[in-house]
Amino acid sequence: MTIEVKNLVKKFGTFAALDGVDLKVDNGELVALLGPSGSGKTTLLRIIAGLDWPDSGEVSFNGEDALAQGARERNVGFVFQHYALFRHMTVFENVAFGLRVQPRAVRKDESSIRARVKELLDLVQLDWLADRYPSQLSGGQRQRIALARALAIEPRILLLDEPFGALDAKVRKELRKWLRSLHHEINVTSIFVTHDQEEALEVANRVVVMDKGKIEQIGSPNDVYERPATAFVHGFIGESIELPVQVADGVVRLGDRPLRLAAEGVASGASKLFVRRHDMLVGAPGSGAFEGAVRHVRNFGPVQRAEVALFDGETIEIDAPRDKELSVGERVGLDPRRYRIFTA
């Protein structure tokens, strides 16, 4: 099933939750909608599911107009952030719900329903919980039951809203791997919403980065990390050093000082310089584009994180390898191995 979204606009009062969004998802993809809260990612997901309606724009599944159908007819599996399990039903009945409410004409008989639910509980590896109530499950178990329930209706598309948002860190990591392998197994076109970049980069085939109701970049996890298209993406994904600079005729200045950095093709004017923390190489004073003094050093496993006060008054944090220990007060030269300049 392919999903195509064209020029979607959705306003809540004067607030534009979606401001002209275009997106195409191919059959069998696992796509992450990544962005800070208020970026419109959940609204987009809900519109695709039929839980919300856009002010304008189009949504189509395999070229068919999806907006002509209600949520009930769209056959979309939706996993809610807080799972929305039916608390008065056992795990078994929760998963069976979508099968039991089908119109009589197409409804399966009881033994087929039982077999199907059993199959789904096996798939999420929780068949031993069939008779429990949701309140008796852990967060991770509830998550998987919610997924099994959504899959019961054999959805054409699977949508997950912050699937791991309510779980603690350890469970979250386990479930990420599990979701990826599950997707591999069932191969349903899937979109999930997250504000956690690590989650998006680790699980998805493609990442859609959103901010303020617009799509900033669509690309593979590698693309969005290595080749961020906008200042927002660079700042949001991965840890970056961000410095306000001026560009004039290919010369980059921080404050009054020109930096020894190439800036061909960058438009003149106020800009932002982005460098990954680990791309800032430490050398002797005078050896790089920047000069500064080490203020603070902490060890983080393979790297040492140093706080460096630049002579222009800015303070930045860099990650340096631990082969040469830095000490507080030491004067260093810093040279970015790679950097990006975006017009502010």
Partner: protein, 261 residues
């Protein structure tokens, strides 16, 4: 702590103990004779039967009122929300004379009903009406907070799984409200069974027909037939105990199954 328990026992337990001690002074045969007398049985039947019927009406009407108050916006909604509490707050004697005046043959509602051949005041129907009046806040106020706190996502989940609106209401919303609905029913029933002030004016108080059990207690007391009064009271009290106990168990059970966030 000791203080708490001791004054509680003084205020509540000693009077009740007195009631049960009195009953123990009766032989089982005497006790049985009082309870099985035609007038007692009829009074209990009137009280319990009509109270149950009224509680059932309240369950249905209360659910409709809660739904309207919680789910819809309409002019005067807040006013009607506040009005639900009037039967709670209005002294029962006032409710009694007001309902009687309203449903009497020349009353605002009694006159049109009489024209249809329906007599309300001074008949069992009047008792039924009064019991509905006093019971309505119990159902509304028990169910309202539960419906308000119901996670909107469960309805969306049901819808996205293909359930029609009707299926969502019957299979998801009503069962979620189940414990609250039953609690409301039980509370309305318990209140109506024991109700005195708002019923006696409109009841007609005809022995065996429209005489409620609490009134029979008062009559027996005024005749100094304390044993009779006590026996009837004990039976009513035991039923109240059972109802409270059941309601508390029900709430506990609901809480265990549905964790509070």
């Amino acid at each position: 702590m000791g203080l708490t328990l001791s004054w509680l026992s003084i205020i509540i337990l000693i009077p009740l103990a007195g009631l049960f001690l009195r009953t123990l002074e009766l032989s089982p045969e005497q006790f049985w004779a009082i309870l099985s007398s035609r007038r007692t049985l009829n009074a209990l039947r009137v009280s319990f039967g009509l109270a149950f019927a009224a509680a059932c009406v309240n369950l249905v009407m209360g659910s409709i009122i809660v739904w309207a108050l919680v789910r819809y916006r309409f002019p005067g909604r807040r006013l009607f929300d506040a009005i639900v509490d009037v039967p709670f707050a209005l002294p029962t004697a006032v409710a009694g004379v007001a309902l009687t005046s309203l449903f009497a043959e020349k009353g605002w509602l009694g006159a049109p009903l009489a024209a249809l051949g329906i007599k309300v005041a001074f008949t069992p129907l009047g008792i039924f009406i009064a019991m509905i009046f006093i019971g309505i806040p119990f159902v509304v106020r028990t169910v309202q907070p539960v419906l308000q706190d119901l996670d909107p996502e469960i309805e969306e989940a049901a819808g996205s799984l293909g359930a029609s609106r009707w299926q969502t209401i019957i299979r998801v919303i009503l069962p979620s409200l189940g414990p609250a609905l039953l609690t409301g029913l039980a509370l309305a029933f318990a209140r109506a069974v024991g109700e005195y002030g708002s019923v006696i004016f409109i009841a007609g108080n005809l022995p065996n027909v429209s005489e409620i059990a609490p009134l029979l207690i008062v009559i027996r007391l005024s005749e100094f037939r304390y044993a009779d009064a006590t026996a009837i009271a004990v039976i009513m009290l035991v039923v109240s105990f059972v109802i409270i106990f059941a309601v508390n168990r029900l709430q506990r059970w609901a809480q265990n199954r549905i964790p509070v966030h």
